[in-house]
């Protein structure tokens, strides 16, 4: 069986793995799209209290509102109706980004088009298209305590997204700490780009084959965890 045929991790597994890193009491900002799946994982660790922050100025909101129970004035960063939790607070947009710029967000999880081995990432602009959609990504990327990325390891045509250097305009330089792809978990350290966990059935060599960045194989390399150690 060629590597191209081997089964890859699901998006939920990728996000579960990142969410596993969240610590009790952390302030977490989840980007629109795939990263919102991180909140599903947290149901499996009910003792871990996470405070969700969204750019539009809501701190401490809950899960998606059940159909029929939406409050039309309460949405998350993706515009989805969420539930109010006790202790929730609202601030305006300028104050919300004050929270971000002060570095109070413990982790932001975002999607990306590309990540490079030095921690750059790109998620706002494709050069063939005019303009871009930056939203709050640059503020979050520059200022959150940690930037985690959840991203498919390859483009649809198979080309690698994990590069020596980003080809697309970057969102912030050198900020990515942790990357989950459908092939594994990667940590960006001072020594370089470290493969920490791999998808079942994928060898380090298989993964390097799909990766332009030079992988350092962790001494304690293991299969991608789906539950905390």
């Amino acid at each position: 069986m060629t590597t191209a045929d081997k089964p890859r991790l699901s998006r939920q597994t990728m996000c579960d793995r990142l969410a596993m890193e969240f610590q009790d009491g952390w302030i977490v900002n989840l980007g629109v799209g795939m990263p919102t799946l991180c909140s599903n994982y947290l149901e499996s660790e009910p003792d871990k209290e996470i405070i969700f922050h969204s750019e539009n100025g809501v701190i401490g909101f809950g899960p998606l509102a059940p159909a029929g129970e939406e409050d039309r004035h309460l949405v998350n960063a993706g515009g989805q109706n969420v539930v109010a939790l006790p202790g929730m607070a609202i601030v305006h947009h300028a104050d919300s980004f004050g929270i971000i710029r002060k570095g109070m967000v413990d982790v932001t999880v975002m999607g990306a088009y590309e990540v490079s081995e030095n921690g750059d990432f790109a998620n706002w602009r494709i050069p063939v298209r005019k303009g871009g959609g930056i939203g709050g990504a640059m503020d979050l990327a520059a200022c959150a305590k940690r930037v985690f990325i959840a991203m498919e390891h390859n483009q649809r045509n198979g080309a690698p997204r994990v590069l020596k250097q980003c080809t697309l305009p970057i969102t912030a330089p050198g900020v990515v700490k942790l990357l989950a792809t459908d092939l594994g978990l990667f940590e960006i350290t001072e020594d370089g780009f470290v493969l920490r966990e791999h998808a079942p059935g994928w060898s380090p060599e298989d993964i390097q084959e799909q990766t332009e960045a030079k992988l350092i194989i962790a001494d304690d390399l293991r299969e991608m965890r789906v539950r905390p150690a």
């Binding site: 309460l74 930056i134 939203g135 640059m138 970057i170």
Partner: protein, 232 residues
């Protein structure tokens, strides 16, 4: 004292002129002044510059995109100048790609802070957002305490078109939950602030002074949304 309560949306924006700059709040379809945008659409003023988080959505509802599609807008200053999904070719995206409209892409936090600077009389400020990216090119950089920042300037406007939940006749405003979003900074940054009110316009004294989100001194005009107005 000046009466701030206007009978309808059209009279509340009647003195908007060609070439003016307007601010339109809203995030995730919540907190937009759709009735006031519809009135600006009916007014037909042209060559407007719009300041807004995004430049309209694909649905049929009135938003900034309505003015763009009617070719009333010459420039947008916003945090999204390309669709978040390739399929979302809004009128704005089409016209921007065809060079029929200008746009300035601003990171969302910088957008909000530039309005706050205009609201607070700050001449300029340094932010770490966008450093090391294409959006910081050509901007003045400065290292402060070992960190690099870019210099950003205030973003004022002639009009802010605001949606509030509740107001008193003096113009004190309250918002509900994430309806607040850009509304307060826009209301405070603009020269003329016009507000459409969802719930009620009450007498002064009925809103707790400790729970005012925007003091009435920033507010010029109020219109209660009628039952047959645009609500969502």
């Amino acid at each position: 004292m000046k009466n701030k309560v206007f009978p309808d949306f059209d009279s509340a924006v009647a003195d908007m002129k060609d070439g003016m700059t307007f601010m339109s709040p809203g995030f995730g379809n919540v907190g937009l002044a759709r009735n006031l945008l519809a009135a600006v659409h009916r007014l037909g003023v042209k060559d407007l510059t719009g300041i807004s988080n995004n430049a309209g959505s694909l649905d049929d509802r009135v938003d900034v995109g309505t003015l763009i599609e009617a070719r009333q807008v010459k420039k947008m200053i916003c945090a999204f100048t390309a669709p978040t999904h390739p399929s979302q070719i809004t009128p704005f995206v089409q016209m921007y790609n065809d060079d029929e409209l200008d746009a300035e892409l601003v990171p969302q936090g910088t957008l909000a802070e530039r309005m706050r600077a205009a609201a607070a009389g700050i001449g300029a400020f340094y932010t770490p957002a966008s450093v090391g990216t294409e959006l910081a090119e050509g901007k003045e950089h400065r290292e402060i305490n070992g960190r690099t920042y870019v210099l950003e300037y205030p973003l004022p406007a002639d009009f802010a078109l605001i949606r509030a939940y509740r107001a008193d006749t003096f113009g004190n405003l309250q918002f509900r939950l994430t309806q607040r979003n850009f509304n307060p900074v826009m209301a405070m940054a603009a020269d003329i602030t016009v507000v459409e009110v969802e719930d009620s316009i009450v007498e002064p004294g009925e809103i707790d002074p400790d729970c005012v989100h925007v003091p009435g001194i920033y507010v010029d005009r109020l219109v209660k949304i009628p039952e047959d107005g645009i609500w969502d």
